[in-house]
Symmetry: C2
């Protein structure tokens, strides 16, 4: 509505993301109201600054003294959260201006998204805020999260794990549910902004801030409509030079565009234009809400591949075919395996293995071979990244297998044919002894059977740390696929070892293709940039080129 206000004043971002004190206008004791939830979740998130309650009709809110107005607090307030009906918001903005407050989060809805009257009200408050030099997040926003100040100024009880991902979301609900999913997927967040109706501060402004924010290593965007495509393009391009920017654009078709109009009051614009802007700016476009989170997880834990040649390893041929199909669809290359590598694998696989990529290890159950195949593939110079299917095992591996392969038949025998139990156990014991005697050997004629001495190598933790070391050494990403595992097990492993695990081969390939494309376009963007921007130092490097000292184009 007031994009013109977007650049007309200098924003004090520290007041939004690192406020020393927060006031809640419309603070309430009524359970479930925004004015109740916001301070409660601020407390729950462990916010350590000072907290002021504003409500002229209450004496205390959540145990804290309630002030009749912002000006009556009489102490410095960095950030005010406004949760009162729309018609009262302009007065609150005046009050904030009078109190010298420079940052507002206006959660109230019923502005430009609800029609012309709301739009007029929104313009009014935007102008007043700009005049007073106030940065407004919202209105119609779910709020802000900031890890540095433990600020959970959100309308939902979501307490993200701190980390390197920052998320600008035009939808609050989608945003906080993504933060929630992030907890499950092991994604840590630096900042979250529900941009809402963006009265005087919009996605490009947040992008500018996040581009220079040292805590932010990956930027996510969920956008419905862009008020100023050119400004978005400029901001996105600048941000994408120093860190991966991943965007999901909604409002693509006719139904979607109409839904956008009534949701955020924005004009959805043409998806083709957005797509070409993304391509120009080096922004990675996500195709679905799932993929947005997959990409966030992958970019925050994996090294970027040097090229687009993938090796695919699979326990069973079908998944290999599904992955190859996905490579066709996503434009990911399958690496040609050099003859020397095929010879190497010949020693580790049954005689009749396919000798091509995808490498179908034909149900091989020797873990030592399995791991040596992974290592050979990753270390092959023809391979830029590995997609590995059937490698992660889930926490219940031992229990499940013991139950399913030994205990289950044993119980059936015990209850149905008890006379056969002693002979059954004797056979198991004899077989196990035989397996132990033949440990280390490998029969290339078919299924070689288990090597029972490999027990430890079959655990999640062993494999995860093995893969992590391999990635550290090679600088190449390994994308795991855990098709038949419980999601929990995979995500626990992910959290602990920073291994990205995709739920299906299709999703793994899609992530791999986007990482590879990013690496390529990023390489050319940096090459064409007269003085390459400074890259941010990181504890867990994203495998970017070496640091280059800044200049005119670089973030300050």
């Amino acid at each position: 509505m007031s994009a013109e206000g977007g650049t007309s004043f200098c924003r004090e971002w520290s007041k939004v993301f690192d406020p020393a004190s927060v006031a809640v206008v419309g603070a309430s004791n009524f359970p479930g109201k925004w004015g109740f939830n916001m301070p409660l979740f601020l407390l729950g998130g462990g916010y350590r600054g000072r907290l002021f309650m504003v409500n002229p009709r209450e004496r205390r809110v959540l145990g804290l003294r309630a002030h009749p107005s912002l000006t009556s607090i009489g102490e410095e307030v960095d950030l005010a959260i406004v949760a009162i009906p729309a018609r009262s918001v302009p007065a609150a903005v005046e009050d904030a201006a009078a109190a010298g407050i420079k940052a507002l989060i206006i959660v109230t809805a019923d502005f430009s998204e609800s029609g012309p009257a709301g739009a007029a009200l929104e313009r009014e408050l935007a102008e007043a805020a700009c005049e007073a030099g106030i940065t407004v997040v919202g209105p119609n926003t779910m709020g802000v999260f900031s890890s540095s100040s433990r600020l959970c100024a959100l309308g939902a009880p979501v307490f993200p794990r701190p980390g390197g991902v920052s998320f600008i979301s035009q939808s609050g609900n989608l945003g906080v549910q993504a933060l929630n999913a992030g907890r499950r997927l092991g994604i840590g967040f630096a900042r979250f902004i529900g941009s809402g109706n963006a009265a005087n501060t919009d996605i490009p402004d947040y992008l500018d801030y996040l581009a220079d924010d040292p805590l932010t290593r990956v930027i996510l965007i969920y956008a419905e409509g862009l008020k100023d495509g050119r400004r978005f393009l400029e901001a996105a391009r600048r941000a994408a030079l120093s860190k991966p920017v991943i965007a999901l654009k909604a409002g693509r078709g006719e139904l979607g565009r109409r839904a956008v109009r009534s949701h955020s009051g924005a004009l959805a614009g043409d998806i083709g234009l957005f797509r070409s802007a993304c391509r120009q700016a080096g922004v990675i476009e996500a195709e679905s809400s799932d993929e947005l989170m997959d990409l966030a997880a992958a970019f925050s834990v994996l090294p970027t591949p040097a090229g687009e040649k993938a090796a695919v390893m699979t326990l069973g041929g079908g998944w290999g075919v599904v992955a190859a199909d996905a490579c066709d669809r996503e434009g990911l290359e399958l690496a040609q395996l050099p003859a020397s590598l095929i010879e190497e694998l010949d020693l580790l696989l049954p005689r009749f293995w396919s000798r091509r990529n995808p490498v179908d290890i034909v149900g091989n159950v020797r873990r030592a071979n399995h791991l040596r195949i992974i290592e050979s593939l990753v270390e092959c110079p023809e391979v830029d990244l590995l997609i590995s299917m059937g490698t992660l095992l889930g926490r219940g591996f031992f229990l499940d297998n013991l139950l399913n392969t030994a205990l289950r038949p044993f119980l059936h025998l015990l209850f149905e044919r008890p006379a056969e139990v002693p002979a059954f156990l004797l056979s198991l014991a004899k077989g196990s002894l035989r397996s132990l005697r033949r440990r280390g050997s490998f029969d290339r004629e078919g299924s070689g059977g288990l090597d029972l001495t490999e027990t430890r190598a079959w655990t999640d933790s062993y494999l995860s740390s093995y893969l992590q070391k391999l990635m550290d050494r090679s600088g190449k990403p390994i994308i795991n696929v855990a098709v038949n595992e419980r999601e929990n097990a995979a995500s626990r492993s992910l959290r602990r070892y920073r291994i990205f695990t995709a739920a299906t081969p299709e999703r793994a390939v899609s992530v791999a293709a986007k990482m590879a494309r990013y690496a390529r376009t990023r390489g050319s963007a940096l090459a064409s940039c007269p003085s390459r921007p400074r890259l941010l130092g990181e504890a867990q490097p994203l495998n970017m080129p070496e640091k280059v000292e800044g200049s005119g184009l670089a973030p300050k």
Copy 2:
């Protein structure tokens, strides 16, 4: 390889799916070998028929007496599982023929998929089997599951829940992992067949059997290559007249086709031809492995919609936009809400709700309103199906919410500002009292706050049974989306109440679109069919048209 043999003899399917006795050729005591796993999993699955071990070099296998050959058993064997190296398989087929066995599951690999020598060997065994009237599943198969005889003749420890879904999979690994996923998603299976290299029995033969199988209510197919497109088309068309047939075709692009060649030895053929065959036959095509399972779950528990007009209800606008975009993409219509319905909803929603479909309930936290909105939408004559987002809550709802909204801030206060705790608790108590006094009322100005008396209505079980009753009454499907829930909770609820829950709005829309299209094409297929085929009676009807007595075209 020998499609010509495909129809040249009469298959005794009961020997494959309901064998009274099973022999394992190549039975072994060596852990991990196929000859060890198969009988172990047969026992583990609770197979109750007689089990014979065949191995000339062992005295006992898994406690059972080992016979030197099939002929030496001296008792009737319905089904033999062959797990010996490829070069010895032809002799085993001869042995089976001599013993009068009519069904073989040949798990051995290294046949047509590995090159010309293997192909010759496969032809040889196929011819011998056809001559002897033996139905061969495989070679290179993961095996067979059949719920009626509790037959888990599989190479992996997978024990599906019995149910109405049957699955023909050209990939064993993908197949058994789907069976595994089915356990998690609450999908019950009637039969599973790993068709493997399909020496003398192929997908169309299995389709013919499943079309008439009273236990099978939904048919899934994973196909890489079809040896005889015409036969597939005929069989699929016949099957699709009596039950939903859902197919995932792999080997679509160049990389995929090459991967198929080396996996199952099949020719992948053209995806365009397959697609048009599916359309002609009334087969529902899945686009990904995820979608195959989504469709299986949805078709096995939901009524079929009468048309293509969807209502979308969402707790937050962003997800509504994402769903509307998906509708654009998948060709699903959004129902126009009649004025009377809008008036009805006006009473239940904040003043500024969008008054259109998707219905954004703007974070409404009154459960009574929430449920009445769902009911109004489902009962609206303009609406054929409902996609409902943010309705399922997960088992941890109370615990999570108690922890996050009350306990968490309390603990922070306790440890950081203990002096404020008494006043905090007093405020909470006062607010709760106020909420209880205002129960049933609803403030249309904004977030109305919680009604603490609605506690029970917020549980999973309450909602699930509510939705189930609504579906039973209206005959319209309700597809839930559980974006922010743990998958476990959603699937547990699904299992218990037969509610289909999609993981994202995109997946929900995709399933809804395919169900709607199925309903339409099925309607026209039935109309154009001179005498409509008999439909199978079912305990949990799939909401198909009334039964019509059979005739020439009907399954026998």
